[in-house]
């Protein structure tokens, strides 16, 4: 069969993947460098009977998709740093109320308005800890269009599986870059649909009572079961409670349902890792440069490997520990001041073997940048 090949922007790939995953509803607010996602969906969603809303701000956008998700829709919003900052309260609500949704943050430099049309990976820790209170979160990323497609579909699947918001952290250069995408055929990637309760009308339904496998079947809001949804600590009916046992149980549930499944959630790729003495750990656009220099050094007989992370949170410490066990040097390649560096240092046996290769000037870190830093680390000078 003839393959459906496209040559499109990363932001468009995200749109294609979201539609492939079954997106029904999008609400957003224009912001560079993510706006193309809104623009394309304003056309594509109504074509399939879905709905696109341009809201008054990013707060409203995330709130609207949470409401839509409750009614049974697969939902998405897309933004960049300043908008993502505005979304943090509603993000906490979606975590607390356990509402599946996907939030794209095509990162720009920051803090504040920062560098809207330039690349940065500065929101990694904001994605983890931006909203207040103890919680866990799933954050995914990708370095090329084919992976971006797969990881976006994955985000929708994980949101449904764990009844949680999932954040896609993309990089400006990936969002705006045009590259080949082979569109997967229908059915080629497995989709996870909403787990709905089998209980009929008139039978007491508990929206927050996990099954034995930990999953919580949902009932489309506005349907046959009437229940309460709140951002307060709540019991299994969704009604507010400050009973210490209920509060403790809910916090443990919200954290454990994700942290305890880090093995299932972990996504990564590895290149030339089998005998690597120097391991580059990277993600997103930075991993493209890291891959280039890895191949370049391998051609010269240097034992360099690349571990590309596609899930940043929950941080796959077990993978990093295992893959870096026999490395003499571990170099974290990222475009911030060392946000994943700290996690890698915590994960490995000896944090002193971990170094940072970074760039924070709004320009993509290049293979030459990484090569120079590698030479310095190895005591060879530039």
């Amino acid at each position: 069969m003839k393959k459906n090949i496209k040559f499109i922007q990363g932001n468009e790939v995200c749109v294609e993947a979201a539609l492939y995953a079954g997106l029904d509803f999008f609400a957003g607010y224009p912001i560079t460098p993510s706006t193309e996602i809104s623009e394309h969906l304003s056309k594509r969603l109504p074509e399939k009977g879905g709905k696109f809303l341009q809201m008054e701000d990013e707060i409203a956008s995330l709130c609207a998709i949470i409401g839509a998700s409750l009614t049974g829709c697969k939902v998405l919003t897309a933004t960049s740093g300043p908008g993502f900052s505005l979304m943090q309260e509603a993000l906490g609500y979606a975590i607390m109320a356990e509402i599946p949704c996907v939030i794209v943050n095509v990162q720009r430099g920051g803090p504040s308005t920062g560098n809207p049309t330039h690349v940065s990976q500065g929101d990694v820790n904001q994605a983890r800890w931006g909203t207040h209170g103890d919680h866990a979160i799933i954050v995914l990323t990708a370095s090329n269009h084919q992976d971006l497609f797969n990881i976006t579909v994955d985000a929708f699947n994980l949101a449904e599986t764990y009844r949680t918001p999932v954040i896609l952290l993309f990089d400006e250069v990936i969002g705006h870059m045009r590259e080949k995408l082979v569109m997967p055929e229908k059915g080629e990637i497995e989709l996870v649909d909403r787990l709905r309760t089998s209980l009929g009308e008139g039978i007491d339904y508990h929206p927050y009572l996990p099954r034995e496998d930990g999953r919580l079947p949902m009932s489309d809001f506005g349907g046959v079961h009437r229940y309460n949804v709140t951002g307060l600590f709540h019991d299994m009916w969704g009604f507010p409670s400050d009973n210490p046992q209920v509060v403790h149980g809910l916090i443990r549930h919200l954290v454990d349902k994700i942290e305890n499944n880090v093995h299932q959630i972990a996504r990564f790729k590895e290149f030339f890792m089998e005998d690597a003495r120097t391991v580059l750990v990277s993600y997103g656009a930075a991993a493209r440069s890291a891959l280039h220099i890895t191949k370049n050094r391998r051609a010269r007989g240097e034992r360099v490997g690349l571990l590309e992370l596609q899930s940043l949170w929950p941080f796959p410490s077990h993978i990093v520990r295992e893959k870096c066990a026999s490395a003499q040097k571990v170099i974290v390649v990222e475009m911030n001041v060392g946000q994943i560096l700290k996690e890698v240092k915590n994960a490995v046996d000896n944090p002193e073997k971990v170094f940072l290769a970074n760039r924070v000037d709004g320009e993509l870190i290049t293979p030459t940048d990484i090569k120079s830093i590698m030479r310095l680390i190895h005591g060879k000078g530039v």
Binding site: K43, M55, C63, G67, R226, N228, P240
Partner: protein
């Protein structure tokens, strides 16, 4: 169905202070729903944060208790996907018009079929009596110990200017009018706003030496007049109550259906 069949009895008595007007709003809202013969499964109540917003916990509808000021945004997401449901959004004055002011005017502008009820007690009650955007110039609150120099919004004028297609005002004293207005608002196809002046004797009354609940309700009786009445001309200080706007204009969900039709036609 009787009014008591619409409530979640196990959560009573409610948390509101003695003399609070919000219980009167709850009672008459349920009477309006009863008057319209709506089924419990047909109603989604979405609320934010504050004294007023606790109302959603007491009613046996689909209830979505959200975050401060954002209830209309959640309601928009629900309504767009379940347009056949009745969306009722009770809000306090601070919830609706301070932190939620932006969402309020934009929901009105879209004319989406949602009923916004602003339970106006002119104060932040839940946090202990701080002045709100409806307290008004010269009032006192725990954050305006000398005098509030912020001018208040006129909810009716604001709603009209923002594009709401049903705008009304009443008070907790005028309970029969409240039932009728709420029923009309819920029945209206478009964005409807009902401002209900609701006394807070605990904070606003005490801070401003307005007496107890009955004194404050007597104030509503003596200082309001039906919209368009002669008394208003003679005494401009009187607050008008009644229905100010009631017009049929294209509703947002219906309009979006047109977008879907156009999008599908463009594929042919």
């Amino acid at each position: 169905m009787a009014v008591k069949d619409y409530i979640r009895k196990r959560f009573f008595p409610h948390i509101w202070c003695p003399g609070c007007g919000h219980g009167i709003v709850l009672n008459n809202l349920l009477r309006a729903i009863e008057k319209l013969k709506l089924k419990k499964n047909e109603i989604v109540m979405t609320s934010g944060i504050g004294c007023s917003s606790r109302i959603s916990g007491y009613v046996d509808f689909h209830t979505l208790h959200t975050i401060h000021g954002r209830a209309l945004c959640f309601a928009t997401g629900v309504k767009m996907n379940r347009p056949e449901l009745k969306l009722i959004v009770p809000m306090g004055d601070g919830d609706a018009l301070a932190i939620g002011g932006n969402h309020f005017i934009h929901a009105a502008r879209r004319n989406i079929d949602i009923t916004a009820i602003i339970m106006n007690n002119r104060i932040y009650g839940m946090t202990g009596g701080q002045f709100s955007p409806l307290s008004g110039y010269g009032t006192k609150g725990t954050t305006a110990p000398f005098m509030n120099i912020d001018h208040g919004f006129d909810v009716v004028e604001l709603s009209k200017a923002a594009g709401a297609t049903f705008v009304a005002r009443t008070s907790t004293y005028h309970v029969k009018q409240m039932v009728d207005i709420l029923a009309d608002a819920i029945d209206h196809k478009g964005f409807s706003v009902v401002e209900i002046m609701s006394q807070c004797p605990t904070y606003f009354g005490r801070k401003n030496k307005l007496g107890g609940a009955t004194d404050m309700m007597t104030f509503y009786k003596d200082h309001t007049t039906p919209v368009g009445s002669k008394e208003k001309k003679a005494n401009p200080e009187l607050i008008e109550r009644g229905i100010f706007v009631h017009e049929d204009l294209p509703e947002y969900c219906n309009e979006y259906d047109k977008v879907i039709e156009m999008a599908k036609a463009s594929l042919k």
